[in-house]
């Protein structure tokens, strides 16, 4: 069964206001930017995003006031491109809630969803104010410790728990997939396999989409099995201006244009420049229905 659809339809069908989303990639690498831009075009509100290390994806949603809560270990561009200033301003103004995690606690919270348990024990998070300030961490005594009652003098082992995060939707930009969603990622996978198992639904945006049986790679090379996938969207360049291993590197000028935006008008025009390319494929082929014809 083909799950192909256009980007507009995928966002309409799979995202509603208030959803918890999770995205592929890490920092400036392989974020599903075309999908994030479509969230902006469709003005999806009060979104939450869970990701170990986010950058432009979260910053763009904050710029348009569409973000409610960010669950992340790190939100920033790397060295040369500076801080995620829209995110930062939105948190400082009290418009966005920053639920700071250690990157590993995001991973553990998603593992909780994978295994369908309400929380996960996490070793390592032992000290500091993150435990005090956040209600998604809790420290308990190891319930299996036997010596506690028998030897009151012994110190009981303490275990930190992190509350499970169950994303409504994972959006993963892959290099290739077939029309049923069997997807292949080249190079670094970051947390993509984990999020594909943790989320209630999965949308793949892909550089290349082929017919069923035409991946020509062998089953063991498929990173995300199609039965986990709800929709497939063909979006060449769908991570730009972020990088996509083997296809393109970070688009320096495009990214700088965003970082230098000063007004809503600048921001809208930046998103607009991608609109034709982002929406160029619908359903089974190229969009020829009025929006564009090649």
């Amino acid at each position: 069964m083909s799950k192909r659809m256009g980007l507009e339809e995928a966002v309409q069908s799979f995202v509603k206001d208030g959803d918890v989303l999770t995205f592929s990639g890490n920092a400036l690498h392989r974020a599903p930017m075309a999908f994030v831009r479509e969230l902006v075009r469709q003005n999806k509100q009060q979104l939450q995003v869970a990701k170990t290390a986010a950058a432009l994806d979260v910053d763009l949603l904050c710029a348009f006031g569409l973000m409610d809560t960010v669950h992340a270990g790190f939100v920033s561009y790397e060295t040369k491109y500076g801080l995620a200033s829209y995110y930062r301003k939105a948190v400082e103004a009290g418009q966005v809630k920053a639920n700071e995690h250690a990157c590993y606690t995001v991973i553990c919270a998603l593992r909780g969803a994978v295994m369908n348990v309400p929380f996960m024990p996490v070793h390592g998070l032992k000290y500091g104010d993150l435990l005090v300030e956040n209600d998604y961490f809790m420290v308990v005594e190891n319930p299996f410790e036997e010596s506690a009652e028998e030897n009151p003098g012994d110190e009981v082992e303490r275990v930190t728990l992190v509350k499970t995060i169950r994303p409504d939707l994972a959006v993963i930009h892959a290099h290739m997939c077939d029309e049923e969603g069997n997807a292949i990622i080249h190079g670094a996978q970051y947390e993509d396999i984990l999020i594909s198992r943790a989320a209630k639904r999965v949308v793949i945006t892909a550089e290349t989409v082929v017919k069923k049986g035409k991946l020509n790679s062998g089953a063991e090379k498929v990173d995300i099995p199609g039965f986990l996938v709800d929709a497939v969207v063909h979006v060449p360049n769908g991570a730009k201006p972020c990088s996509c291993e083997g296809k393109y590197d970070v688009q320096d000028m495009e990214l700088r244009t965003f970082l230098e935006t000063k007004s809503m008008e600048d921001l809208r025009s930046w998103v607009k420049t991608y609109e034709k390319a982002d929406r160029s494929f619908i359903g089974k082929g190229r969009n020829s229905g009025g929006v564009r014809s090649w």
Partner: protein, 250 residues
């Protein structure tokens, strides 16, 4: 008071402060250690390659994209978490697996950042002002809060050394734990007996200058000068990092 702003230029022509910091960090690493760095970590990434070329050929370089022992940094530019590190690696070991490794006590060294550090060894990478209504929202500690307590040795590097960075009490304790060294453009702090001690100062500075730029009273057993980069170190450094990404943060 002169605020030290992390000037990349030293007073000599043979090396820059970034070169010195890279060499000082490389010398802290031992052969066969498992060592991890994260995002925005160009300087320690180069230091690891330098150590591998000099005294630690079997050091295990771990990173976010999962590239074990990348053989080259020639394709590395704006990112220390990019897929290029996997492209030239010998095997793959994901970020989640690196964290798990550290939880099992098998990560020897973790490189971590931070914005504010206090005399008691607390690290702040989260907020200036209250956590829930911050004056400044910082990027966040990334892996620090689980790695500093579990890695055998946590090394912090910071390219700024001033009174806003090194304070009596941090605004927010993102984490603390097995902090081992903090390397700055002026000096090396060691963490011993629950407090930061001045281990060594760089040849480009004085104890007075370090004190002027530090928000707590310096304590030290005796003062050593760090050794300037040797000709051999500089030669290898230029070869492993021809694009000078180690200076990106300055």
């Amino acid at each position: 008071m002169v605020m030290y702003e992390g000037n990349v230029h030293s007073t000599n022509k043979e090396w820059q402060i970034s070169d010195l910091m890279t060499c000082v960090i490389a010398r802290l690493l031992k052969d066969r250690e498992t060592v991890f760095h994260g995002v925005s970590s160009h300087l320690p990434m180069v230091a690891m390659q330098l150590a591998k070329q000099l005294h630690a050929p079997n050091l295990v370089h771990l990173n976010i994209p999962g590239g074990v022992n990348p053989t080259s940094l020639r394709e590395t530019t704006y990112s220390s978490a990019g897929p290029d590190l996997l492209r030239s690696a010998e095997s793959s070991f994901s970020l989640a697996e690196v964290f798990d490794l550290s939880m099992r006590g098998k990560l020897d060294v973790a490189f971590l950042g931070g914005i504010q550090f206090d005399v008691k060894g607390n690290v702040n990478a989260s907020t200036i002002g209250p956590y829930k209504k911050p004056k400044v929202r910082l990027p966040g500690g990334a892996g620090s809060a689980v790695l500093i307590p579990t890695a055998k040795k946590a090394i912090i590097w910071r390219t700024k050394h001033d009174r806003r960075t090194f304070v009596e009490d941090v605004d927010f304790v993102t984490t603390r734990g097995n902090l081992w060294k903090i390397v700055t453009p002026l000096c090396v702090f060691g963490y011993r007996d629950g407090r930061l001690m001045l281990d060594a100062i760089h040849p480009n500075t004085t104890v007075e200058e370090v004190q002027e730029n530090t928000g707590f009273k310096l304590q030290y057993d005796h003062i050593e000068y760090t050794k300037a980069p040797t000709r051999e170190e500089m030669g290898v450094l230029r070869r492993v990092d021809p694009k000078n990404v180690r200076s990106l943060e300055f």
